[in-house]
């Protein structure tokens, strides 16, 4: 039973499962994100985002999503959450602020929801 399930990325409502299909689509985007682990690359990226992005194999939609810091779009285009979090870290933004934007909530509303015990499982059925 366990290990025999084949999931697609959108099988579970409100959830992205990072499948091989997304990995193929997002390889260049995720490689770019990984490059931000080096301080000198963070400096170069911040100095000229477009020029830095042009050195990596991203398509235009992926580059636009990065420049707009549209995390939901990045994930849709194959970004893996733990890779795009390097971009947030480069901006000095928290993981929680990214999660809030993915949930479509303000950072304050999201933080308040978490302090109150998080999003309840029943919300999935809606």
């Amino acid at each position: 039973m366990s290990g025999r399930q084949q999931l697609r990325s959108n099988d579970i409502p409100g959830t992205i499962v990072f499948t091989g299909e997304l990995a193929r689509k997002g390889f260049g985007l995720n490689q770019f994100c990984m490059s931000l682990m080096k301080p000198e690359n963070r400096v170069r990226f911040k100095a000229d985002e477009r020029a830095y992005l042009n050195a990596w194999s991203l398509d235009e939609a992926q580059k636009d999503a990065v420049v707009a810091r549209d995390y939901a779009r990045m994930l849709e285009l194959g970004g893996n959450i733990f890779f795009v979090l390097k971009l947030a870290a480069t901006d000095g933004k928290s993981t929680q602020s990214v999660a809030a934007s993915l949930a479509g909530q303000s950072v304050e509303d999201y933080a308040e929801m978490m302090r109150a015990g998080g999003r309840r499982p029943a919300a999935l059925a809606a």
Partner: protein
Amino acid sequence: MARITAGIATSHVPAIGAALDNGRAQEPAWKPVFEGYEWAKAWLADNRPDVVILVYNDHASNFSMEVVPTFAIGCAESFQPADEGWGPRPVPTVMGHQPLAWHITESLIQEEFDLTIVNRLDVDHGLTVPLSLMFGQPEAWPVKVIPLAVNVIQYPPPSGERCYKLGEAIARAVESFPEDLKVQVWGTGGMSHQLTGERAGHINQDFDIGFLDKLTQDPEALRRIGHKEFIVEAGSEGVELIMWLVMRGALGRRARELHRFYHVPASNTAVGHMVLEPA
């Protein structure tokens, strides 16, 4: 002979490390989290292992999308804290135990667990936050560590059943090591949390408490949980709980709960923690 003396489970939330590193551990949001680990800290002072086999996952720190090992064992002499995008955590270098790591590697591969051997590995919050929770902020970590990295960020991760069996094989490997060593296995990650999609912020306290209960009362049930059930119930990142099953498998058929702690939230995550002994 080496022997497995205990298992510890804990979440490994990055914000916990940041709170400690930035001197915010006494703030109202964080104080209850750190207090939840005081028992284990005191217990570890009297029950210190020589080596910890620390089961964790890399979060795009050492492994890019170029290589994604399902199971990887750190065989290096030492492991540096990774720069995860805001500079490395100010924590000590993690010292490995090469003879035991290589013995485990040989034993596991001969038992058909095809581990990836890693001789250079930077370790991220997944490994260093549990060390900080258990040992605070020492000059040097008081134990040797064998990192065991499990892929949980690229679908499909290994099954919970496979993780449990890996834990059983680790126990056999440890018990066949001739040196007299006390070894603990730590399973990290979880509990319920989700960072992706509109359901980000998902927390399922009933599932988490049930999982904690079943670690001692019904581990067989935990082995049967599939990926879909993990993701639906515990959230897309809650699937990290498969790493707790490596720890549980290593403790043998019966285990005794010595201590537990459960707290919501630390940032986006339900914090769960348990100390167990083979019974």
